[in-house]
Amino acid sequence: MLLNLFKFNGGVKPPTNKTQSVGLPIAQAPLPSKLVVPLHQSIGGTPKPVVEAGERVLKGQLIGEADGWISSAVHAPTSGTVVEVGMQMQPHPSGLDALCVVIEPDGRDEWIAREALDYRSLPPEQVREHLQRAGVVGLGGAVFPTHGKLTASKTVPMQELVINGAECEPFITCDDLLMRERAEDVVRGIGIFRDLLQPQKVLIGIEDNKPEAIAAMQTAVAAVGEDFAVIAVPTRYPAGGAKQLIRVLTGKEVPASKRSTDLGVQCFNVATAYTAWRAIAHGEPVISRLVTVTGNVATPRNYEVLIGTPMDEVLALASPQADTDGIVMGGPMMGFLVPDTKVPVVKATNCLIAHSPKLFPAKAPEMPCIRCGSCAQACPHELQPFEMYWHARSKNFGKTQEFHIFDCIECGCCSFVCPSRIPLVQYFRFAKSEIWAREREKKAADTAKDRFEFKQFREEREKAEKAEKLAKAAAAQAAKKAAEAAAAAAAEAGGAESGTSAPPSTVDSEIDPKKAAIAAAMARAKAQREAAQPKNTEALTAEQQKEVAEIEARRQAGQPATAASEPPASGA
C-alpha cells in the first residue's frame, strides 16, 4: 500500500544500540523468590487491594480492583501466598513507597480458571470492562488504561487507528522481538481495537531499522486476513512518540489541549494489542511483560518477566559487568535510574539498562544558556525550550505556560543537543509540578472560600427570615388588636346609638384612647421596621432592581414570602 508519509519537525538521531539485544530469542525469566506487585501501575486511580496477608492466591487472580473508570486491575503473577499488603519502594525516581501486594510463590504456577471471550457477541461496553478487569494498559511506557481509549468521539468519525511499533528509544528492543515472534497475536489484538473503534483504516508504524519485525507483521497481517497497512517510518527519535507517529502516518498534529479522538485518530502500542488479545481470547490478565535487559551486561536479551519481579534478579540473568553501578528503567532518553535495584518490574518497565560510568559518562558541568537555539530546532513539538528554561529557572511559571510548557512531552531531545549541558527536561518537570501544586492549593483555597461564603449567606438568610417572621407576627397581632378595638368600639357605639355604624376612627379616641394609642404605636413601629430593613438596593443592575421590586410587591401583597427562602441567584 502506497502511503504518503509526513514529517515531524525536530528530533535527534542518538546511537540506537539495539543490535546487542536482538541476537537471542525471548526467554522466560525464572520464578523469583518473592514478587512485589504495586497496586498503582497505571495512570489514574489506585486499585483497592482485595486480598489479605496469609491468603493463598492463584496465578491471574485479581488482587487489586480498579477504583474508578481511569484505573486498571492488578493480578497475582503466579500462585502462592500473600505475605504482606504494605508499603514498598516504587520504581520511581523519588524512591517513594506505595501500597504493594507481596506474594511468596509456591512454585506450582497454578492458573485461575481461564475463559476465552467471544468479544464479537458482546456489546462494546462489556469488552471495555473486560479489558479493565484484565489490567490491560498502554505498555509503550505511559501505562494509560487501554479501555479508556477505546471509545470513539461522538462527533468526529474515527478515521485512522495508529499502531505504534516504532520503538524509537535507543537500547530497547522488546517490541521488536514481540513483533518478530508473536506477530499474529499482535495483529489479532489490533483487530479487537479496530472492532471497538471502527476506524476507516489501520496503520501500523515501525521504524525502518527493524526490517525483521516489519516482515513478520506483514506476514501476520496477510495470514490473519486483515487489511492493515504495515508502514516503515524513518528512524528518528522520537518517531515512536504517539503524537509524532500520528503525525508521520496521518499528517495530523494533536496538541496537548486535545484528545487524539477529537481529530479522528487513536494510537496503541503493539504490546498493548498483544495483551488485549491474550486477555480476550485466552482469559489471561496482564501479569508479565517483555523486558529488554541490556547495557553494561555480558548477554543482552529480552525476557518475559512476571510483574513484581525484583529488578536485580532480572538483571542478573544477563550477567551484568563488575562496574555496573545502577539500573536505568526505560531508555536512555526518557528513562531514569531506579532508587534501588531491588524495586519490582512493573507494567511500565520496557527496558532495564545496566548503568556504568563508562556506558553513560557523567555529564560535563552545566554552563549558562547561550541561546543558540539548538533545543528549539530539536524540539519535536516546536517549542522554545530555552525560553521555558529561562522562565522555569526564575520560577516565573506563568510565563512557562505562555510558552506552552504543557505541550512538552519530555522526550529529552533538547537536553540531548544542548551545548551548555543544561538538564532542560528537569527544569520543565520542576515547573510543571510546581504549577500543579499551585493549582491544587488554589483549588483548596477556593473551596474553603466558597464554603465560608455560603455559610455567611446562610446565616444572613436565616436572620432575614427570622426578622420577617417576627414582623409578620407583629403585624398580625396589631391587625387583630385593631380589629378587636374596632369591634369593641362598634359594639359600644351600637349600644348607645342603635342602627348606626359610625366610622370607628372618629370614636376610637373618645371610647378607648389607651387601646388606640397602643395600636397606633405598633403600626408606627412596624412602619419603622419596614423602612429600616436593609434592602441593599444600592448599585444594583436594572435586572436585580426589577427582581427586588417584584419580591417587594409579593410581600406587600401579603403572600407567603417564598422567594426569600430561595438563595439569590448571585449567591450561587
Partner: protein, 337 residues
C-alpha cells in the same frame, strides 16, 4: 546517585561551538595577514590575551569556576572580532581598551556568558570609534609596504604614526570622494583609484569573500542558521541595489557594499551572535534584514566609515521585542491564528 535522563548526549559543548566560529574566521585572517600585513596577527594576540585576562579577573571577582569558563572560548571569539574590525595598525592600547571594555563591561557586568544584551565586540567598536575617532579611522594607505618589524613598531608606538598610516578603507574613501568631489561619480572614482580592486576594494574583496566562505561553513556545520546572513545580505543588497539603480553616479553597486567593510563579517559572524540576537526563525530574518538596512544607511548617509557596529547594536535593542512578537506556532496549534 542521581542523574536525570537523557543519559546519551550529543557530543556538543559551548567551547566546541566557539572553536568552530574561530576556525571559520581563519581563512579570512590568513588572507588579511597576507594582503594587508601580518600586524593583524599581533592585534589578534593582543586582543586574545586581554580578553582572557579580563575574563579571568571577572570570573575571580564573580566567584565563578575559572577553568570551566575560561575554556569556553567565548572571550576568544569576542577578541578576534574586535581585532578584525579595528584598524590593523591601531596602537596596542586601543585594542586593550576595547577588548577590556567588551569583556568587563559589556559581558561580565551584565552577568557573563549568555547574559549580555549587546554584542560585546560591537560595544568595543562603538566605544572606541566614539572615543578615538581618528585612530579608529586610520587604515594603512594603499601601497604602503611596511615590514613586520616596522608594523610592530607602529603598533607599539615605537615609530611615529606617519601620514601614510592615515588612509581609509575603500568604503570610506569612496564616501569622502563623493562628498568632496564636485562632478564626480562612482564609476569615475572606481576607475581612477587603484584602491577599489575588482569590485569592492583591493584585497578587501578577497578577505570578505573568505569570511563568506567561513560563514557558509558555519551554516553547514549547523552552528548558525541561514536566516540572519541571508536576511542581512538581502536587506543591505536590496537597498543598495535600489539606490544604485536610481542613481549609479552617486551610489555604489550592491556588490561593492556587500564585499567591502564589515558586511560579510557582520552578516555571518556578528549579527548571528545568538546571545544578543533574535532566536525565532522569523525574528532572525527581521534582525538580519534590519541590521543590513541600518548598516547601509549608516555607512552611506551617516558620519562613520562603516555602519555594522551601530546597526547590530540597534538591532540588539530590538531583539527581545522582535522575539516576543514572532513566536512560532507550536505542534498542533498551527491552524489557529
Amino acid at each position: 546517585m542521581f542523574a536525570p535522563a537523557p543519559y546519551l548526549l550529543k557530543d556538543a559543548s559551548v567551547s566546541k561551538v566557539m572553536t568552530q566560529v574561530c576556525l571559520a574566521l581563519l581563512p579570512g585572517i590568513a588572507l588579511y595577514a597576507w594582503l594587508l600585513g601580518p600586524a593583524i596577527l599581533i592585534q589578534l594576540l593582543i586582543a586574545s590575551v586581554t580578553a582572557l585576562a579580563a575574563e579571568a579577573l571577572m570570573l575571580k571577582l564573580m566567584d565563578k569556576p575559572l577553568g570551566l569558563f575560561l575554556g569556553d572560548g567565548s572571550a576568544l571569539v569576542t577578541a578576534w572580532l574586535i581585532a578584525l574590525t579595528f584598524p590593523p595598525l591601531a596602537p596596542w592600547w586601543l585594542l586593550v581598551v576595547g577588548t577590556a571594555f567588551a569583556v568587563i563591561i559589556a559581558k561580565h557586568l551584565y552577568g557573563g556568558l549568555g547574559q549580555n544584551p549587546f554584542n560585546p565586540a560591537m560595544v568595543a567598536f562603538a566605544v572606541c570609534i566614539v572615543s578615538f575617532p581618528a585612530l579608529m579611522s586610520q587604515w594603512p594607505a594603499l601601497g604602503l609596504h611596511l615590514s613586520f618589524g616596522e608594523q610592530l613598531q607602529v603598533v607599539f608606538g615605537l615609530a611615529p604614526r606617519i601620514d601614510a598610516l592615515s588612509g581609509a578603507t575603500p568604503l570610506d574613501t569612496l564616501k569622502t570622494g563623493l562628498k568632496l568631489g564636485e562632478n564626480v561619480d562612482v564609476a569615475q572614482l572606481l576607475a581612477n583609484q587603484e584602491i577599489y580592486g575588482q569590485f569592492a576594494g583591493r584585497g578587501w574583496e578577497l578577505i570578505t569573500g573568505a569570511y563568506l566562505l567561513g560563514g557558509l561553513w558555519l551554516c553547514w556545520r549547523g552552528i548558525i542558521t541561514w536566516h540572519v546572513p541571508t536576511a542581512f545580505i538581502v536587506g543591505m543588497g536590496s537597498l543598495a541595489a535600489a539606490l544604485w539603480l536610481y542613481n549609479p553616479a552617486q551610489f555604489a553597486s550592491p556588490l561593492f557594499h556587500l564585499f567591502s567593510g564589515g558586511a560579510m563579517l557582520g552578516a555571518f559572524f556578528i549579527a548571528t551572535d545568538p546571545v544578543s540576537g533574535c532566536t525565532t526563525p522569523r525574528g532572525k530574518l527581521i534582525f538580519g534584514a534590519g541590521a543590513g538596512l541600518l548598516a547601509y544607511l549608516i555607512r552611506v548617509f551617516g558620519g562613520y566609515p562603516d555602519g555594522i557596529a551601530f546597526a547590530v547594536l540597534l538591532m540588539n535593542l530590538c531583539a527581545p521585542v522582535i522575539d516576543l512578537l514572532t513566536q512560532p506556532a507550536i505542534f498542533g496549534m498551527k491552524d489557529k491564528s
